[in-house]
């Protein structure tokens, strides 16, 4: 099966600070050659800690931020603002996004109905029809239209607002929906309601999801495939069951292990990483994870590891993997003693 969405070598550097001549003094390496594919009807989970570039990736896909490099194609059609590519406006009809902050992502001066009906009207749907559709969608996301249609965002609870945001994204009839921490700010009981809704909608509208979250349990529950990001790079990706059961990259292992057990009585041996994720302004050379990695050797600080197959579609970027080109060199090297960095 060919991929519905294909992303190749997506890259974004943000210049920050300017010197006397307007040249940037520092560069944030936000997203560095990110590539992935999603098949129709599947959910790709993107996990990682703050500053790993997962949200930037989402905004790059929507062209809310202009990518420096990279190709984004849906069903083989390439989209972008460079000549020869299909216009971004068309991309936005096929891909929509739900943001984390349910309040900030709704215009406080517009009624719920106006917010949902706004998108379709932009795409030439008549006002009457757009409003009718808004009502149907509200009903579909579990909000009684007769009660909510004239309400303003501040009169709704967080869960209700996020339902409105989902309805707004679906109003354009997209094939792909990016959910950027869409349930992260919700309380657990409400989160479960919204997750159920997302599963139902996915079946009903044959949607494909990109589910971005820092909550590893939720990602495991909702995703078919998972992609782990660290400092702007993909360190590991693969089918959810394989990746969670048999994480190949040391970072993935530590990350998955750091989640406290949800059932009492199972005391856990944590793999505790030292320090915080480093600053993406000056990412470490070589493998970006090496300063926190317990398996790091000299080569890790010099060379960026290549992404290799673990099994099937499960891939990771680490010299420890037998498939890695420099695996033999890595094996022969002594482990370096570790000075905790921060």
């Amino acid at each position: 099966m060919s991929a519905l969405l294909r992303v190749q070598d997506l890259k974004k550097h943000f210049p920050i600070g300017k010197d006397l001549f307007g040249r940037p003094t520092q560069v944030v390496h936000a997203v560095e050659s990110v590539s992935f594919e999603v098949e129709k009807g599947r959910t790709l989970g993107i996990v990682g800690e703050s500053g790993c570039g997962k949200s930037t990736t989402a905004r790059l896909l929507m062209h809310l931020i202009e990518p420096d490099e990279g190709r984004i194609s849906i069903r083989g059609k390439e989209f972008g603002n460079i000549g020869g590519r299909h216009p971004v406006a068309q991309l936005r009809r096929q891909m929509q996004m739900v943001f984390q902050d349910s309040y900030a992502s709704l215009n406080p001066r517009l009624t719920i109905e106006d917010s949902i009906a706004f998108g379709p009207q932009i795409h030439g749907v008549s006002e009457t029809l757009a409003r009718q559709q808004a009502r149907d969608l509200l009903d579909r996301v579990g909000l009684n239209p007769s009660v909510f249609i004239r309400r303003y965002p501040h009169e709704l609870s967080g869960g209700q607002r996020q339902r409105v945001n989902i309805a707004r994204a679906l109003a354009i009839k997209p094939e792909i929906v990016i959910l950027d921490e869409a349930v992260s700010a919700l309380d657990k009981s409400v989160q479960a309601q919204v997750l159920n809704l997302l599963s139902d909608l996915k079946k009903e509208f044959e949607l494909t999801y990109l589910f971005i979250s820092h909550d590893l349990n939720v990602v495991q529950y909702i995703s078919d495939d998972v992609m782990v990001m660290y400092l702007g790079q993909v360190v590991e990706s693969g089918p959810v069951a394989q990746l969670y059961e048999n994480p190949a990259h040391p970072y993935t292992r530590a990350l998955l292990n750091s989640v406290p057990a949800q059932t009492p009585g199972q005391s856990k041996n944590y793999i505790v990483l030292e320090g915080d994720p480093p600053n993406p302004i000056a990412p470490p050379k070589g493998c970006r994870f090496h300063p926190r990695c317990q398996f790091a050797k000299a080569i890790c600080a010099e060379k960026e590891p290549d992404t290799v197959k673990v099994s099937g579609s499960h891939k990771a970027a680490c010299f420890k993997l037998p498939g890695s080109a420099d695996h033999q060199t890595y094996i022969r090297l002594q482990e370096v003693s570790h000075e905790p960095r921060c």
Binding site: E49, Y221, S258, Q262, G265, V272, D276
Partner: protein, 324 residues
């Protein structure tokens, strides 16, 4: 042994222009020396408000607090302001979710810790600096001597959180109040801080009240837990027992709705329908009844009082308390 903290029938009401908010209703619990209690609940359930009452941190003119909050036998709610500021930071200390708010951005971290020690223990600046250094070392901030002269904004999120813990523990308090201290942290940093807190608690023999919305975090740190809903404790007991065999339907629902590994992906999550009530009136009946599948007409009349001194109890009148 006498409990370090005893809270009896605590009521907190916020008076606003548009009516009152009954944030905490009739909350009672106690805390033994060296023990950790997790106040578990969702946003707006009153867990943070309860915690702040222990140090009387609410704005005075807008808040009405009733009941008793005894810390080492002394009622915090009746303390004069001098005794109160003596107690804050010395007997009882607090760590917050957002460490940037606990530190003054214009002073170095070392000076702020030293200042707190000097105020409470009347020792020289030099000795206080020495204590600050010890504390930074103790919370395992790398090259602590160098970090003594760092400003809060020069530290990373996890390190700031450690520094705040150092500040809170500098005067070796008897009780540490922790208000979601790891919620804003990344997963790999959260576990570092949780384990650190547990270890420091053991070393210093402190008691700890830990406010969290995360079941996993409660399991990791706490000995006992009190589950809160709509301003009341609805179930209390040893963490193991409460979270493996919950009695109250809300606790059951909360655990069921929390996504955990090994869930069947093809089945819908057992979500709790509806949303918590607004606390614009004092709710004496079961506040969870409108969302509860087991509710009966009895749940809608004021609930009988419960003996909160038993090791495990719940406010639910339908709970099967035989299975422990």
């Amino acid at each position: 042994m006498n409990p370090v903290v005893e809270v009896k029938n605590l009521n907190v009401t916020f008076k606003g222009e548009e009516g009152s908010i009954f944030a905490v209703n009739d909350v009672s619990f106690d805390l033994a020396a060296g023990e950790t209690l997790a106040l578990l609940g969702e946003s707006g359930c009153g867990k943070s408000v309860t915690l702040k009452s222990l140090m009387r941190l609410h704005p005075m003119h807008k808040t009405q607090i009733e009941g008793q909050v005894l810390v080492e036998g002394q009622d915090v709610l009746k303390m004069k302001s001098k005794a109160l500021s003596e107690m804050r930071g010395k007997t009882v200390s607090m760590v917050f979710q957002e460490p940037m708010l606990a530190f003054d951005p214009v002073f170095t971290v070392g000076d702020q810790i030293a200042e707190s020690v000097m105020r409470h223990e009347r020792i020289s600046y030099k000795d206080a600096r020495q204590r600050a250094l010890e504390m930074l070392d103790r919370v395992r901030i790398p090259s602590a001597a160098k970090r003594l002269d760092a400003y809060p904004h020069e530290m990373s999120g996890g390190m700031r959180q450690r520094a705040m813990i150092a500040l809170a523990l500098a005067c070796k308090p008897r009780v540490l109040l922790a208000d979601e201290p790891t919620t804003a942290l990344d997963a790999t940093v959260q576990i570092q801080v949780l384990l650190l807190l547990k270890e420091l608690q053991r070393e210093l023999g402190m008691s700890m009240i830990f406010v969290t919305h995360d079941v996993g975090v409660a399991i990791e740190v706490a000995d006992r837990t009190a589950v809160m809903y709509a301003g009341r404790i609805i179930e209390q007991g040893p963490v193991q027992a409460v979270l493996s065999k919950p009695w109250h339907p809300y606790t059951q629902g909360l655990l069921g709705a929390t996504v955990h590994p090994g869930m069947d992906r093809n089945q819908a999550l057992p979500a709790i329908p509806g949303a918590p009530p607004q606390l614009i009136r004092r709710i004496d009946e079961c506040a969870f009844a409108p969302r509860c599948a087991q509710a009966s007409s009895r749940c809608l009349s004021p609930l009988p009082s419960v003996n909160t001194l038993t090791p495990r109890w719940t406010r639910c009148i339908h709970a099967d308390v035989s299975q422990a």
